[in-house]
């Protein structure tokens, strides 16, 4: 095994250092310390915006630490960067603003490492699943610190149960791909949704329930817009330069349906992939602002996840129809379009981008429309323990839609 910090990983390391610097400019060390304690020891279930819970500084520090820890894992196992690792790192970064923290991710990772030992295989084969599977990290906090369990040893039980979840997770994640045939990009969200539904059903059967939670910060749109716009513009410029000062292959990339496995990083190279990611970032940031949403932990998390999957299946052409369908649904349904769940639902509806990429914009709009209806009903099932709730909804939407679409659409010869 050859351990090397590849240049792509250095980019994430620089970004983390900038985040740490920004944290200390925005908040004082004392504020960061108090906030960080809240992140570590309070409930992290959906929707817990760390910026509201702990302040922007503490949220940025947590984000930097989670990204650095993820890079440490990838470098430690000796994995080379590709579309999937880039997507995983951005997803880790995004969700470290609302649910994943530097402590609660480890029991799940440990469980998956134990699984790799049990199967007598190298951990490198499971490290991607391990990073994405931290979607179930809130389970650790929920069982360890919230006092649901009626006896001492909550922390131990929380950690052991989360480790066990990690241990049984990899086969479930692999199996779930068969169910939606790769049309749901957030596959782990689907697998985790099923597992968390089982776990929550079990806990509820014994009188343990999670309370509804909504922590949602507002009023920072201008500051975050400037930060995000700077980041994404930089990505486009760097990508343009790395791609031989051209946008060559961008149109070829747009022609890809985006179904799993579409590794743009390996297929087209880092340069044009970064351009695609930057464009998606600017587009989704503007989308949030146009529908009247707030830029905060969860929505920035959503935007970063879209950007990450810009290396692994998403591009403007396949994302746009699905998000239009989701927006249309939000305008017509009984909920406010700029309410937290709907803004997140619209952003994460892009998990179904491969449907529009493969079958055309019309089916993409329908998928996005139905995705919103599903996502508003599913969070109850897992009690907010699965951070990728939209991946769960996307998986179910695919299981229903894909057989119907393939059965009734006219095949193009």
């Amino acid at each position: 095994m050859r351990r090397k910090i590849h240049s792509t990983y250095y980019m994430f390391i620089y970004l983390s250092i900038i985040l740490i610097g920004l944290a200390f400019i925005i908040d004082t060390p004392a504020e960061i310390f108090i906030g960080f304690k809240k992140i570590l020891f309070e409930s992290n279930i959906l929707i817990t915006d760390y910026m509201e819970l702990a302040g922007i500084g503490a949220a940025f520090i947590n984000m930097a630490l989670v990204v650095l820890a993820s890079i440490f894992l990838l470098v430690f196992v000796g994995i080379k960067p590709n579309g999937s690792t880039v997507a995983a790192l951005f997803t880790m970064a995004g969700f470290s603003l609302f649910g994943k923290n530097i402590v609660n991710i480890w029991p799940i990772v440990l469980g998956i490492w134990l699984y790799s030992r049990y199967q007598k295989e190298k951990f490198i084969n499971y490290v991607l699943i391990a990073l994405f599977a931290t979607t179930l990290s809130p389970t650790v906090n929920e069982l360890s610190f919230i006092g649901h369990l009626p006896f001492y040893g909550n922390v131990l039980i929380g950690i052991l149960l989360s480790t066990f979840i990690g241990f049984i997770f990899p086969p479930l994640a692999t199996y779930c791909l068969k169910l939606h045939q790769g049309y749901n990009l957030y596959n782990i969200g689907f697998a985790a949704g099923l597992l968390a539904t089982l776990l929550m059903s079990f806990l509820r059967a014994f009188g343990i329930n999670t309370e509804n939670r909504l922590l949602w910060s507002t009023g920072n749109n201008l500051m975050f817009f400037v930060m995000l716009f700077t980041l994404f513009t930089t990505m486009i410029v760097v990508g343009y330069l790395q791609n031989g000062k051209s946008f060559k292959d961008l149109l070829r990339l747009y022609k890809k349906p985006g179904r799993l496995v579409s590794d743009f990083y390996l297929l087209f190279g880092r340069g044009i992939t970064m351009v695609n990611m930057g464009i998606l970032g600017i587009y989704s940031t503007l989308f949030v602002l146009i529908i009247g949403g707030d830029l905060n932990g969860p929505t920035i998390g959503g935007i970063l996840t879209i950007v990450g999957f810009g290396a692994f299946g998403k591009h403007l052409r396949n994302v746009f129809p699905v998000m239009v369908g989701a927006t249309l649904s939000s305008l017509l349904n009984i909920w406010q379009i700029n309410s937290p769940s709907l803004v997140l639902g619209i952003l994460f509806s892009s998990t179904l981008a491969p449907i529009s990429g493969q079958f055309g914009w019309f089916y993409g709009v329908i998928a996005g429309f139905l995705h919103i209806c599903l996502t508003m009903n599913l969070a109850y099932l897992h009690g907010g323990l699965n951070l990728y709730n939209n991946g769960f909804a996307g998986g179910i939407a695919c299981i229903i839609l894909i057989p119907i679409i393939t059965a009734f659409r006219k095949e193009r010869e």
Binding site: K178, G182, R259, V261, Q358
Partner: protein, 114 residues
């Protein structure tokens, strides 16, 4: 590694699907296990393969070997009749040689070490 035979079957299914999609009605398949290696040879009669198709095939099947991607995504190969997962096949094999003999027979020789 679990499901090794199943993975080999899926690779073959995926490539057979590719041949069918490119107008072949006549596909011969040889799969040999030699020590730790699995050698897959496919010969398909088809006269519609373009230069662009060949370039795409060559590039996809020569995607760098990625054990971690195989472990997670192998279930997706050979599972869809509207889309090919050639890049994923590329990640699951160690070597690929492609020949288009007399512009009538497409020959694929793949080596895989699980």
């Amino acid at each position: 590694m679990k499901h090794t035979d199943q993975r080999n079957i899926k690779i073959v299914t995926e490539l057979m699907g590719y041949c069918y999609k490119h107008g072949s009605d006549n596909v011969h398949i040889d799969v040999n296990k030699e020590n730790e290696k699995i050698i897959i040879f496919i010969r398909a009669q088809t006269s519609v393969i373009t230069k662009k198709n060949l370039e795409h095939l060559e590039k996809a099947l020569n995607t760098p070997r990625c054990h971690e991607m195989e472990e997670y995504y192998w279930n997706l190969t050979g599972d869809n009749d509207t889309y090919t997962e050639l890049t994923l096949v590329g990640m699951m094999i160690d070597e690929a040689h492609i020949n288009y003999v007399d512009e009538e027979y497409l020959e694929l020789l793949l080596t895989r070490i699980p």
